[in-house]
Amino acid sequence: MSSIKHYLSVYKKFIETSFSVQLSFRTSFALLIFMDLFFYISTLATVDFIYDHVAVIGPWEKNKLMFFISFMLCVDHLHMTLLSESFWVLSRQIRTGELDFILLKPVHSIFTIFFRYIRPSSLTNTIAAWGFLIYFGSKVPLTTTAWLILPILLIMAFILLAIIEIIISTAMFWLTEGLGINFLRMQIQSLARWPDYIYKVLARRLFTVLMPILLIGSAPVRFMLDLKSWDYIAGMIAAIFVFGFLMFKIWSRALIRYESASS
């Protein structure tokens, strides 16, 4: 309990200092808000345009796919707000030895490295992201149970995405240069932005079992659309535990590998 309190008090300061830093650069702050909004609207508009010409894509009609896209936009929104900055900073921290001071802090290094930089500008788009999700959720329409578990599933989806991305980023300790790893991470993330049924059997199995990126969106949305689809959620929970365990193991190996930089 005291440990949770400790982490929360540090995290509160992360938020405050991130606000303090970003609000020093007002134009950049406003541009980031606009950029995120543009991304949400263009993504939804693309799917909307496709449905102007076809009635269904795979098994889902327009509202179901729009709900899926909105769900993934909310996961992306959490990702952009809480995590995304840190992945770009990590390789610089490894190359320049900035990581030294982070490793000295008396909290877990994954927490200090990946949750240090919060993007307050993205936080201001919460209303837009959740607005789309609630609108298309009501169009589906979702059952009361589905509405109640929606926030929990959203957080689980975010956790699974974070775990997979941290595992991929850990490769930076071996490769030092992070640009290629970051692009790989983004490409893999973009696979999850579409429902699993658009992929061929082999690719679907690969990205559901070996690298469970497709479980991030497809598992919770399928479950909310049909509460009898327990297998999807069970798979998602199992993936969180298995890959979470793997993440800590690989991270420990990476820290042994860390050589810092000359002073």
Binding site: F14, S260, S263
Partner: protein
């Protein structure tokens, strides 16, 4: 009470040689000539609680690597370390709360916010109570004379001011062991002196164990009673500063200035390695310590001396000689 203990501590780094130019880069894509460099080699060290130890050595000798292993930042290739009762590489929470590292060439402060915001974040990291935090900030900022700068963005501070803030940031949680890696590098003389005074005061009040590396012998002279010399990753000396000063022999360096040119300069001084200036009005001599008094008296009586000095920091001369000839400390077969 032993605070730091290492036995056979070794760290090897793997790197590769790259030929220059574009073709060299292409070749390095498919074939790399890897080389192993031993940065620290079988290093044994024992430091007691409350000691201030100067870790000396030329650039690339392994000082910083040793510090990084002692703090748990990097993991040794082999050997054992125990710092404040913990194995640093385990990186347990309690260990990290008991140590601090200050690096003169790296910053732990956030550049785009005032130092005070960084301190408040560190307060949460180290779970320092509000009352202790206020008391320590007040005390340290007064001692370092930076009270007016606490709310200025770090990027706007001068190097000396920033270094003072770095020290405050590192000592806020009142660590038991402090690793200072060139804390005065690049600072002007006044700032160097301020920092030395601050470290001395902090040590006096808290009986902290301190390991200091610095290329400024004035730092070492002012703060350390014991020196550890590291040359090519190996220990070359470990003992009191007075012993280190005599590592090349029990000689003192004395300089005499004369009111006129000394015509017969070869005969009288030849036994004491004289080094004259161009006009033969000033000479530096190396005198055996036991004869210092007699020879000094004779020179004063025999020649028109207007000024004489003994060297202030013999360690500077010793360090310079050992850096040029490491075999003097390591032995011929190192």
């Amino acid at each position: 009470m032993t605070m730091i203990k290492t036995r056979g501590l070794t760290k090897n780094f793997l790197s590769y040689k790259k030929s220059p130019g574009f073709m060299g880069s292409i070749k390095a894509l498919y074939k790399r000539d890897y080389i192993t460099k031993t940065a620290v080699n079988s290093f044994d060290l024992e430091i007691q609680k409350g000691e201030i130890v100067g870790l000396l050595g030329p650039n690339g000798a392994g000082k910083t690597t040793l510090m990084k292993m002692l703090t748990g930042i990097i993991v040794p290739s082999s050997g054992e370390i125990l710092v404040a009762g913990s194995v640093p590489a385990d990186r347990n929470k309690e260990f990290r709360k008991r140590i601090a590292l200050v690096m003169g060439q790296k910053s732990q402060l956030w550049w785009d916010i005032p130092a005070m915001d960084s301190f408040l974040l560190l307060q949460k990291f180290y779970e320092v109570s509000d009352s202790d935090f206020k008391e320590r900030i007040e005390e340290m900022s007064t001692l370092l004379d930076v009270k007016d700068l606490l709310h200025v963005h770090v990027r706007k501070l001068s190097l000396g001011e920033r270094m003072k803030m770095e020290l405050m940031a590192s000592l806020l949680h009142n660590p038991e062991v402090i690793f200072l890696d060139e804390p005065t590098i690049g600072l002007d003389l006044v700032a160097q002196e301020n920092i030395r005074y601050f470290i001395k005061e902090f040590h006096r009040k808290n009986n902290t164990t301190i390991i200091l590396t610095s290329h400024y012998m004035a730092d070492v002279h002012a703060l350390c009673k014991r020196l550890v010399l590291i040359l090519q990753g190996k220990k070359g000396f470990d003992g009191p500063i007075e012993e280190f000063e005599q590592i090349l022999g029990r000689e003192k360096s004395v300089s005499f200035s004369f009111s006129e040119t000394i015509e017969d300069h070869t005969h009288f001084f030849e036994n004491w390695s004289p080094e004259w200036n161009q006009s033969f009005t000033k000479v530096d001599l190396r005198l055996p310590q036991e004869d210092l008094r007699d020879i000094g008296k004779t020179v004063l009586e025999k020649f028109p001396v207007i000024e004489f000095n003994t060297e202030k920091m013999p360690i500077e001369r010793v360090m310079k000689t050992l850096m040029e000839k490491p075999e003097l400390a390591l032995g011929e077969n190192h």
